[in-house]
Symmetry: D2
Amino acid sequence: MTIDLQDNAPRTPPLPPAGTGRTLRDVPMPGFVKRLAQRLALLPGQPDMASARHIDRLRRTCNEALAKPNKIGGLVAIAHVADQYAAMSPAERGVFFNLLRDEFGVNPAEVHGAYDAYRDGADEPGAALIRLTKALESPRLQLFRLFNTIPAGIKFLVDLRAELLRRLKGDPGLRPMEFELRHLLESWFNLGFLHLERITWDSPAGLLEKLIAYEAVNEISNWGDLKHRLISDRACFAYIHPAMPGEPLIFVEVALVRGMPDNIQRLLDTSGPDLRPEEADTAVFYGITNAQAGLHGIPLGNLLIKHVTQRLRAQWPKLDTFVTLSPLPRFRQDFLNPALENGGLEAFFDEQQAQRVCALAGEETLGRAVWALLERPAWPEDREVREALRDGLLRAARAYLLNVQPHNGQGGQRTVIGGRAACPVAHFHAANGAVLQRINWLGDVSPRGLRQSAGIMVNYLYDPLKFESHQNSYMAHGRIDAGRPVLAL
Amino acid sequence: MTIDLQDNAPRTPPLPPAGTGRTLRDVPMPGFVKRLAQRLALLPGQPDMASARHIDRLRRTCNEALAKPNKIGGLVAIAHVADQYAAMSPAERGVFFNLLRDEFGVNPAEVHGAYDAYRDGADEPGAALIRLTKALESPRLQLFRLFNTIPAGIKFLVDLRAELLRRLKGDPGLRPMEFELRHLLESWFNLGFLHLERITWDSPAGLLEKLIAYEAVNEISNWGDLKHRLISDRACFAYIHPAMPGEPLIFVEVALVRGMPDNIQRLLDTSGPDLRPEEADTAVFYGITNAQAGLHGIPLGNLLIKHVTQRLRAQWPKLDTFVTLSPLPRFRQDFLNPALENGGLEAFFDEQQAQRVCALAGEETLGRAVWALLERPAWPEDREVREALRDGLLRAARAYLLNVQPHNGQGGQRTVIGGRAACPVAHFHAANGAVLQRINWLGDVSPRGLRQSAGIMVNYLYDPLKFESHQNSYMAHGRIDAGRPVLAL
Amino acid sequence: MTIDLQDNAPRTPPLPPAGTGRTLRDVPMPGFVKRLAQRLALLPGQPDMASARHIDRLRRTCNEALAKPNKIGGLVAIAHVADQYAAMSPAERGVFFNLLRDEFGVNPAEVHGAYDAYRDGADEPGAALIRLTKALESPRLQLFRLFNTIPAGIKFLVDLRAELLRRLKGDPGLRPMEFELRHLLESWFNLGFLHLERITWDSPAGLLEKLIAYEAVNEISNWGDLKHRLISDRACFAYIHPAMPGEPLIFVEVALVRGMPDNIQRLLDTSGPDLRPEEADTAVFYGITNAQAGLHGIPLGNLLIKHVTQRLRAQWPKLDTFVTLSPLPRFRQDFLNPALENGGLEAFFDEQQAQRVCALAGEETLGRAVWALLERPAWPEDREVREALRDGLLRAARAYLLNVQPHNGQGGQRTVIGGRAACPVAHFHAANGAVLQRINWLGDVSPRGLRQSAGIMVNYLYDPLKFESHQNSYMAHGRIDAGRPVLAL
Amino acid sequence: MTIDLQDNAPRTPPLPPAGTGRTLRDVPMPGFVKRLAQRLALLPGQPDMASARHIDRLRRTCNEALAKPNKIGGLVAIAHVADQYAAMSPAERGVFFNLLRDEFGVNPAEVHGAYDAYRDGADEPGAALIRLTKALESPRLQLFRLFNTIPAGIKFLVDLRAELLRRLKGDPGLRPMEFELRHLLESWFNLGFLHLERITWDSPAGLLEKLIAYEAVNEISNWGDLKHRLISDRACFAYIHPAMPGEPLIFVEVALVRGMPDNIQRLLDTSGPDLRPEEADTAVFYGITNAQAGLHGIPLGNLLIKHVTQRLRAQWPKLDTFVTLSPLPRFRQDFLNPALENGGLEAFFDEQQAQRVCALAGEETLGRAVWALLERPAWPEDREVREALRDGLLRAARAYLLNVQPHNGQGGQRTVIGGRAACPVAHFHAANGAVLQRINWLGDVSPRGLRQSAGIMVNYLYDPLKFESHQNSYMAHGRIDAGRPVLAL
């Protein structure tokens, strides 16, 4: 299972690109003004605003929206802004972001004035604080909030943030805007608003189509492949927001099997006989995908696995083991790379094996030798190589996975007192209360699996009765609890 | 139609009162911890927290919730806070609010530090602003946000605010907390999240039951009465929030008739023959009710009438007139009361009529005479009184209704540039783009109608093609547009 | 629990009575032609047919419907027949039934001709059989089938049969028509088409209203009473037909309790504390009601209890006992009535008790004495009477309940090989596989309970693992299996 | 548009073929016994019946089902029959059909006895008729009816009839059985039970998958192609039976365009720009498909077009023209084939053209020449051929399409008094009230279009105001009404 927040950003279906003369058939997006007109049976939009391409007109339209919140005139204005944004070229969008950054931000004079009153205690206590808080709410944040009053406005904002995130590196001045938008979306994508839905082969095709588009890790190649992941001994669950129906936010793919699996290729193989789900004892979470690039950094996955576990047990009471089958996506790059000179692998290989590895690779140092062997495309098929690397790499993986870097004390993430695991996947599951149960040799022999995880895969185990104590181990003490098979390595 | 935001506060079904040993059968509220346990299949709650009645335990539980946001432990903590609050006596709740006020508010030291960095520009620009904004987000606001992560948590917050509003007068120190909670709810009860639902006789009984409980103005006496308001030539629409299903937020009652109605008793009479809805040409909005005291001040009604109008036209294309039948609930008290000495009614009565009124009442001044006649319980049945008062009172009502008090420039309501109508109902409809179409003599002869509106009722007309220009008249120029019948008075 | 098929016939909401100039507000039934016109956007009905009140016009309209099955013209014709029927007086309806009886029945000449061909084997084998079968399908049966092609037509047929059943005694000539209609409805109300729905307080009010109207046994007095039967530790399930949404066909009321209940008044008492349903171990079926008089005799209830049992166990796995609390509605009249002279009660009373009973009643024979005591209105409050009657009456009840009258061999009910229980309630449950588990003294002290069941109530026990063998006992061998408490009497 | 009842029979997803050791992954059909066990929480099936492969066991199981209708034992028996049938080889199925034919048919002795009583009038009148009717209801018909009491039983019956239809030619003795099953299904697939559903891209994938599988005429090549037929300016409607959710019975594909289309290739071309549906004036029914081979001969399509027309107009009020684009699938074979010697084409070609045709083909007679030219694979690309054939073939097509063969008076189809069109598609639409509006030269140049319809396509026009009179023309007088373009040919 990979948690893949960043990678799939470009896959998010973008608003239609600029300059295309007509709405694409595949993007049934009839325009925000039109949709609003349909909802409220308005007359066609005002020509003055409809033609507003130039920046001063856009500024005026934004101001009109702010001046008439929750009024028809304001709604029409905000819909026009959305339609114009959708039709803009990348360069024009840059101008638009600059406009928001420079002219719709917090007014420093107001902040200073409000702060002075607050500090002096001149006003009624409370009133000064409220005034200061208001001064720090920028007009563009109010504008963002207004987008949600028009149909499909929330999806617009999610996509707007995806764009903003892409531009952030190039322009740190956009950070406050991004902070505001993230804060708003975090409030709106609060757990209390999300529905956990089981996705089945009887779900709307328009929703399933998005699974195919978004699945980041174990690619879904076509509708037939998708069907295999939804029927029989497979299941899929997604969080859905009621204002974005038909759009999965995050989804998890589950296989129902007997016994803890150790290899992703065997798990995904569709040619073998199916298990009747009621005979399974183990649920395997083999893929979690964040589907909305614009929701990056907003914690949707924390409770997902527990929530799904509860659903699975209610339907199939015989399930008693809940595990993942997960990669170590940065293991090879961050831990095995000899360029890192991070101490050497000698600690993990016994001497005899180290010599064999060096001999096989024709390298002098163990680090270079391991790296060289792993560079060979189909090394797992070479029995000698396989056997020479096995024990040492497994021990190295264990060390990597259990490594928690002490927390530097900075930043707002006061929840991670204990530190942070070097492996992001390990961090996600440890913070959720999972145990590092087993490390599987040659668990993923796909090119990607070899390149990222040196072919290794991990089972994280979720024990409903104990995840709270495991979570505490990690969060309070920076310790990742390991299962017997890992300890026995 | 009355917009009745304050009155129905006490009708909101409160959380169970303190000290009742058992959950009431009529209040199927199984406890927040229990519901959470059901959702996530948790073990029963920790005994330590379950018994926490004392303030230090409550403090600890709140801190635990804040320390583990979106983690199981944090969720359990927040559910315990909710359960404890539900079981508290009024006095205990007071202590709880004080705790939030005093210990979970903004930390002034953090604010000062952040402000200094912001002012000095020491930090990276943007980072300082973000830090200041974060410093102004109090822990209790984070706590409020967390309540929504547990089942039924949003309704808990709405009811919490209803309680807070009741306590606000007695303790102005609660104001920042109320501001934070209102701001949060305003963000969550954003128009984009609400569904407009037609309420019918086939709606869930649990929802209909609430209409009976909440209807503020033209009371619904029983299920039979309610049925008459939902079938045949009647309709009802409500905004519903997806996270509070079965709870109407605001609802409007509509009658389908031929011609603009001038009397509420005739409109509500159920003994006459029904009209087939497809033969109606006029939709009458005869009641709008805010159902949630805890959402007081959050603008839900602004687009409601337009939204409903659109729905009605889609279903019955022959409808071409959309009007209200509305009271002037403060007319008698604020305009006719002789104690006010606000200039005299002489301007509205011609001399002959004024003398007749004085003679009938046996009073010397017109103001006192009018007041005296209106004090008579069944004055509309006395033809002489009726005729003497008619023209003068109608003219007085027109003056009252068209009176817009200039805006004093203070406060944040920058949207009302032009001022604010003296009559709150006139304000609501004028701000929504309605025209003061007709003033109806003896439009409501119920005791309440006579006591509040001197028996007069008003039709506000919504013309879909023109409401934007009417709205502008009012909001930009402080002018309420009047229809021909009013102008002709 | 009473199975009450006949009694509630008059409660079925009839089609509007004849001669009322307008559709009643409470009966939102806009006419069959109008509904059909709405579905298919037809022009207004043909004037010729619309005015058809006279019998020859009705005959012509029926023939037109038969001539154009599944064509627009035929549909309009059938809708006109339905509208005319709805507007007819009772006498006119009689004429209509006579028309169907005399002119739309089977054509004897066709039957004779087809039979001759069948007997002679002249035609191709098979073809002759088909021809004979067709000859026996009367035009009126085809007409009945056509009613279902118009909106609300199936409910029309159900109500038509209710009317037909009422007229059957007066006119045996209607029997073939009734047979045809029953056969058709039996085919359409086949188990495969029915949905088992849990009725809750969130069910449509229009459906709940019908529960109040139909409940036959333990009357539902108002909406508050109904609510008590739907929430907390109560449940209600109904079979619904998809073509008659909002109309329960048969429904069962369930109480979740601890331990097998012995008294209906205590069970229905709403003042006591509620049980949390998940703590209950016993589900009590305390009322089954057939809601449609027009479906009398069509077996809907056979699988209902098993189906409901399965649902209850899925939701509350701790439930392990499924019982009824049922009356013996004909016990006093059919078994204790001294006028019957059916052998005497002496077998059930020991001598001492028999003397005491006679002494208390001042009667000489035991039969008359028992009867006399039972005639006293509040006899259960008299301790002496109570104790004198107890043992003897319980033994008498046992004898009555276990009495299975040998089957006379006639009729088509070949499924009851073993005979038929004297008590109709015992028959229903024994045929469904229940055990006569316990007989409860003073289980129902309401006037009705005393009058019908001499105050006694019975628990029939449904054991999911054994009902098939119990069913076989009864159906193959005419034996009702009894539980230990009954055997121990 | 083709009405294609027979062709797609083999496409119906069959029950799993015999002998496969396991349920196929693509056919999630867990067995009838298992599904029944799930619904009613039964114990696993009786071993005795489960192993019943042999014919005497099957007979016994059928008798058990008949002996316990609506009882658990009977249901289990019937589910076992279904499971056994599903697992049978074709030969075994033949034995099963023979069993039903020979041992579960009508009992002649009962028929004779009942008839005698009926003829003699010995019994009470009515009773004899009922007895005779019952005697003609075979046990196997009762068995069929019982299949619907188990989950998925109705689909089982539909598929059973598909199999029966395939066997009918080989064994006429199956005809009464087929008649009974058709009659039963006709009663159950009555218009009153069907829902008209719009199929969209948000319909369940499991349903859409079936459209791809069933579409007979203009093949749907993949999911992308399907999507194009469901969004934007396309629509699709299907009748669904509530007891067979997810299974379309018959569906119609609609294109929204401007002006009446004359060519199917242009209509289906997906590369051109889309029309906004609200700008369309014409709805084109370009494909009607019967999806269930087992419902062959049961009239589902009669009202479909009117029903869909009503829906389309309600959503897009600007639509004012409703036409088909239909083939003449037997035109070339039945009318142009020179082997038929049916009078000669000379009547349709003027002399000059006839000579040109003969010259181009190098044939002496016109009939052979036309046939020879049509045999050339890509003749429409040869301008000379195209022009030589055009006028003559169009006139021939008109003659063919308007040809109504007088009715021979036999059979039960008394609704077609006037006769029956030679072209089956013309018959379908004329009987539904359509007008033969236009005949389009080179309307379908696909290989299939050339082979069947000589490249010609027809527009049938549905005028909602007139279809009843057109229907009468055809049904009463055997006349197909033609539009102006056809008359002008």
